[in-house]
């Protein structure tokens, strides 16, 4: 084989993703020979150092896994502990949790749509370059994102790693008047998010509709955030506690993040597109109409169009946050009693990037015996690589730099959070005497 027939597209340090990762695509004789999404950020061992900590500490410890989706970690941890204890958080406390989650979606999607993903479509190397030509758009994005942060400040106590969340609810429930300023911001956000959907719909998209198994939560009454069954478009319909019967994690030599697969069918797809495709009927009428006007009539199979879906979820999150605020009555107590001692609890919630699964075994004294955490990015890794396998042949005639550009964009379609994905590499220790 002569060297001319081997072409390598390599990015040693992916930009505009959270954390440290690389991409390697090898093309041999005009065919894709190998694709690797390498996550070289070191593992962080969160599951190991949760062992022996109090069950009440799980939300705050796991929140530190990610600076972009700490609420998701707090919610999955709380739900897992409450599941173990056999209690449910209802009423105003549940509504406040939903509000906090809306804030996180707004912050995370706002960042990704405007700062990380949009430059790909418009041909800019960074959001800063883009801002020079699209000042109003970037300013709108920054204001949208900031409203998400502000929800975190009012309800969570601060914008990153909120301090107000506890197992069973909150340490302190805000008064209705604490939210007054947010109401006007949210109304503005609804209009701005609608404009964002229209703007996203006008971007240039490569033709790349694919068959996927989409997996998300589904709830009978609402677009899923914190509760529901785990479902897929291939017939999966399970309780959260059955997750590990259907999904497993695999070690892959070139990456520090485990690959998660469906035992029966392999790769699958979590995140905004999965939620959208499996729960379109649960979106608000306004979000549904805006999606349809943007060309997404209840279905999106092109991951490059995930930017439109994120914008639709932005609109929904603003509407939902406003709904919670307008109906809010301060609960009499900010949290309920929860004691999962001696039990095992399961929790799965919809982080901005998809399902975040937690399982905790709790000892009789309330200490954590063992923990398992599966973040969304590890679940999407295989699908990201599969996309590259299929995408590269379609665009194989492009020059290297353009092909590389599109490949990076294909990875950013998933808004991968590498910091989240690397904390759960297991060490197998062999004792030799």
């Amino acid at each position: 084989m002569s060297e001319k027939e081997i072409r390598t597209i390599k990015v040693d340090y992916l930009a505009r993703v959270e954390g440290e990762g690389a991409m390697h695509v090898k093309i041999k004789d005009g065919k894709v020979d190998d694709v690797k999404l390498k996550i070289f950020e070191p593992p962080r061992f969160f599951e190991a150092f949760l062992q022996g900590r109090r069950f009440e500490e799980a939300p705050d410890i796991t929140a530190r896994i990610c600076g972009i989706c700490p609420v998701a970690y707090q919610m999955s941890a709380c739900h897992a502990m409450e599941n173990g204890a056999g209690v449910r958080v209802e009423g105003a406390i549940r509504e406040l949790r939903r509000l906090l989650y809306c804030g996180e979606w707004i912050e995370s999607h706002g960042l990704h749509v405007f700062m990380l993903h949009a430059p790909d479509f418009l041909g800019y190397d960074s959001a800063i370059e883009m801002a020079k030509d699209h000042r109003e758009l970037v300013q709108m994005g920054l204001r949208l994102k900031k409203i998400g942060n502000d929800i975190g400040i009012v309800l969570g106590g601060r914008e990153i790693h909120p301090v107000n969340v506890k197992v069973g609810g909150f340490y302190k429930a805000p008064r209705k008047r604490d939210f007054l300023k947010l109401v006007e911001d949210l109304k503005w956000g609804i209009e701005a998010a609608e404009k964002t959907i229209q703007w996203c719909a006008g971007l240039p998209f490569p033709d790349f509709d694919q068959e996927y198994e989409f997996v998300s939560l589904r709830h009978p009454d609402e677009y899923p955030m914190s509760e529901g069954r785990i479902v897929s478009n291939h017939g999966l319909d399970i309780d959260v506690s059955e997750y590990e019967e259907h999904f497993e994690e695999e070690h892959v030599p070139y990456t520090n993040a485990l690959h998660s697969v469906l035992k029966e069918r392999g790769s699958y797809f979590v995140g905004p597109m999965a939620r959208f495709n499996l729960n379109f009927d649960k979106l608000s009428p306004r979000a549904q109409a805006a999606a349809k006007a943007a060309g997404l009539d209840g279905q999106c199979l092109n991951p490059f169009k995930s930017i439109i879906v994120r914008a639709v979820e932005l609109l929904y999150a603003f509407e939902e946050a406003l709904r919670v605020l307008e109906n809010y009555e301060r609960p009499e107590v900010p949290a309920i009693e929860v004691d999962p001692s001696g039990k095992t609890g399961f929790g799965a919630t919809e982080a901005p990037r998809g399902i975040l699964y937690h399982r905790y075994g709790v000892l009789g004294n309330g200490d954590i015996r063992d923990a398992k955490i599966v973040p969304p990015t590890s679940q999407n890794q295989k699908t990201i690589e599969r996309d590259l396998y299929r995408f590269v042949p379609q665009y194989i005639d492009l020059p290297d730099d353009e092909l590389q550009w599109h490949c990076e964009q294909a990875i950013r379609n998933y808004d991968p959070c590498i910091s989240c994905a690397t904390h759960f590499l297991k060490i197998h220790r062999e004792e030799v005497s």
């Binding site: 954390g19 959001a127 370059e129 920054l142 994102k145 942060n149 959070c417």
Partner: protein, 153 residues
């Protein structure tokens, strides 16, 4: 003229705290016309801190490969920050330098922007400055104090 002085860094990561330590010392002087703020350095919240300033002075630790304790004064009012100082950081949290350039692109940069960078040595968990950086604090304190006084006059 309203001057905002912002100390940036993580006070629990060794020399990374130097920006915060410096502005706290300057706060004790209660200089007229000077507002003191602190920040973790996250791009977007940092941009919020200087929106109402006519002059902003940013103090942060540097990792540029110079000798520990080296003080750099960068006037970013009209020119971009030197390329050797722009580092690839985590992209979900953009850095101080990106905050300045983003604000410039959006025409939201105060008319005067000064950056004081103190080259750090150790960024591991801990609350102690390394000796070279601790030594540089006194000199940087004098320099920044002069800037603040000049600004007010």
């Amino acid at each position: 003229m309203k001057t905002v002085l912002i100390g940036i860094g993580n006070e629990f990561r060794g020399d990374d705290a130097v920006g915060r330590i410096l502005v706290r010392r300057l706060a004790a002087l209660e200089l007229p016309g000077l507002e003191i703020r602190e920040s973790s350095g996250e791009c977007f919240s940092l941009m919020e801190l200087w929106t109402d300033a006519e002059r902003v002075i940013l103090v942060d630790a540097l990792q540029s490969g110079s000798a520990p304790g080296t003080i750099r004064r960068i006037d970013a009012s009209t020119e971009s920050i030197p390329a050797d100082l722009v580092q690839q950081c985590s992209t979900h949290s953009l850095s101080l330098l990106e905050a300045v350039e983003m604000a410039r692109a959006l025409e939201k940069l105060p008319p005067e922007v000064l950056i004081y960078g103190i080259e750090g040595h150790r960024f591991e968990p801990g609350e102690e400055l390394s000796p070279e950086v601790a030594q540089a604090v006194d000199e940087a304190f004098e320099q920044i104090q002069r800037e603040c006084v000049i600004a007010h006059e």
